[in-house]
């Protein structure tokens, strides 16, 4: 049997370490989605269409993006049937 130096499994399975799991890919973003809570009807389209699945439920009333990982692609804003999500330039938000 061959060595397991790089992979503990027979196939190319990688265990993600914790630092990798919380790396801040959100800093690629130039625009961020801002959800208008009043317009949101909680349909969940944004969460379904989000390619990296970062729309989180907030108190079962509206959705909010996890900005640590959101890359700002804007698909949620495009798909929202109520136009409740707008893409705002990152420069508008002071860190």
């Amino acid at each position: 049997m061959s060595s397991n130096k790089y992979f503990k499994h027979e196939g190319p399975w990688s265990d993600a370490n914790d630092p990798l799991m919380c790396s801040d890919t959100g800093d690629w973003r130039t625009k961020r989605p801002v959800v208008d809570k009043d317009k949101c009807i909680f349909c969940g389209f944004c969460a379904i269409y989000c390619p990296i699945q970062i729309m989180e439920m907030v108190e079962e009333s509206h959705f909010s993006p996890d900005l640590d990982f959101c890359k700002g692609c804007g698909i949620c804003a495009k798909e929202c049937p109520k136009n409740a999500i707008s893409m705002m330039p990152e420069g508008d938000f002071k860190k």
């Binding site: 049997m1 061959s2 060595s3 992979f7 027979e10 196939g11 190319p12 399975w13 990688s14």
Partner: protein, 408 residues
């Protein structure tokens, strides 16, 4: 083939495609994703019917194309499911990237490929070119001779692919238009016997699988040493598959009473001086002609390849060593080489064959029949080679024009 009289099945007259569909049903897959293509369509029609009747408790994904079919079954397999798909020719080419990824991920997918000529020229006809064009994908390739073997091989494929020591996807090949639409009597085993045969897998350790929320991913990494490690593991698993398949063939015989001899089937080989090497449906015709030639006193035998990848070189050398002459019949081409693909590969072991001479026959491409007359010609030519006569290396049996201008 050895057949045991003990009855553990019911005989049905069905096509090769129906045999494949019934075998898939008996294996109880969790997910089936497939797209219809000639000459494989009947498999998907039958599985859809089983699913609609409630005879098959699986997720049936009617995808929009073959690429999605392979990606769907690969993902389902990585999630721990048993999967099935089937395709042919252009479909296999359209899913090629996913075919490679499935092998790289070591996802134990079982699929049927109904052999058909491959893109290049539009050819809705039989030939093994699609199989040959995919041979280095890292899959295990099995080839069936008749409808019964189609059913048997699909069941054996699950044992091989999902075995904890192997974990390599398996493709079962059979000749399109010949076996796909040919109705034959097929011993269809009972469900409880198939369950018993496959239950060995449940006693093995569980393979790594995707779990929602788990911090484990597949295929996300593989560079430098890691890539080498994975490739070496893959090549090692392919080598282990040879002995494993022999063992599975024996266990299959114990339960179902049918054995084919493992990696290769030897037909009247013991005292044979000359041998034809073949694969797939042509072997039935070759056996019939061998019987006739034997009556005329010609000591000829057949070596049928049941496994093509990994290449069963040890078993072939053992069977062929010391024979006077070997004629390899290929139903496909190996562009860049004069001889056929199996001939070219067997040629690599020529020095270990104890002085056997070898020649290549190309026949059966694009639905040209490998007739009894053609097979007789091949045997006569191989006998001429054994007798030391001057014989050309490559013969296109159904295309004499290839030989007219000097040939290859």
């Amino acid at each position: 083939m050895i057949t045991n009289a003990q009855k553990k099945s019911q005989i049905k007259v069905i096509t090769g495609n129906a045999a494949a569909a019934i075998a898939a049903k008996l294996a109880r897959p969790d997910v089936v994703a497939a797209y219809p293509i000639t000459p494989q369509t009947e498999i998907i029609e039958q599985i859809s019917q089983f699913h609609a009747n409630g005879e098959m408790d699986c997720e049936l994904i009617t995808v929009e194309g073959e690429n999605s079919a392979m990606n769907a079954v690969m993902a389902a397999s990585l999630a721990g499911g048993r999967v099935f798909t089937a395709t042919s020719s252009w479909g296999l080419v359209f899913m090629y990237d996913a075919v490679l990824a499935t092998a790289g991920a070591r996802a134990p997918v079982v699929m049927v490929n109904v052999n058909r000529e491959t893109p290049g020229i539009i050819a809705v006809s039989s030939g093994q070119q699609d199989m040959i064009s995919t041979r280095d994908a890292g899959w295990i390739f099995l080839i069936a001779e008749d409808c019964q073997e189609v059913l048997d091989l699909v069941l054996q494929a699950y044992r091989l692919a999902e075995d904890y020591d192997i974990q390599v996807p398996v493709m079962v090949h059979y000749d399109g238009f010949y076996l796909s639409y040919l109705s034959e009597g097929v011993d269809v085993p009972f469900q409880e016997d198939v369950d018993k045969f496959l239950s060995v897998l449940k006693t093995q350790p569980e393979r790594t699988k995707l779990v929602p929320g788990g911090k484990l991913g597949c295929g996300s990494h593989g560079i430098l040493g890691g890539y080498l490690e994975l490739r070496y593991k893959h090549v090692s698993a392919m080598e282990r598959a040879k002995a494993k398949f022999e063992q599975i063939d024996k266990e299959y015989e114990e339960i179902f009473g049918r054995s084919y001899g493992g990696l290769v089937e030897e037909y009247r080989m013991d005292d044979a001086d000359v041998v034809l090497v073949g694969s797939g449906s042509m072997c039935g015709t070759i056996k019939a002609v061998i019987d006739e030639k034997r009556e005329a006193g010609v000591k000829v035998g057949l070596l049928k390849m049941r496994m093509y990848r990994p290449f069963p070189s040890e078993a072939m050398i053992k069977a062929l060593k010391g024979k006077k002459a070997i004629g390899v019949v290929d139903r496909s081409l190996c562009f860049g080489f004069k001889g056929g693909p199996i001939y070219t590969e067997l040629k690599a072991f020529e020095t270990q064959l104890g002085g056997s001479k070898m020649i290549s026959f190309i026949d059966g491409i694009a639905n040209t029949d490998i007739t009894k007359i053609n097979v007789a010609t091949m045997i006569d030519t191989t006998c001429d080679l054994a007798a030391g006569k001057d014989v050309r290396e490559v013969t296109w049996v159904s295309y004499p024009e290839a030989q007219e201008d000097g040939g290859l």
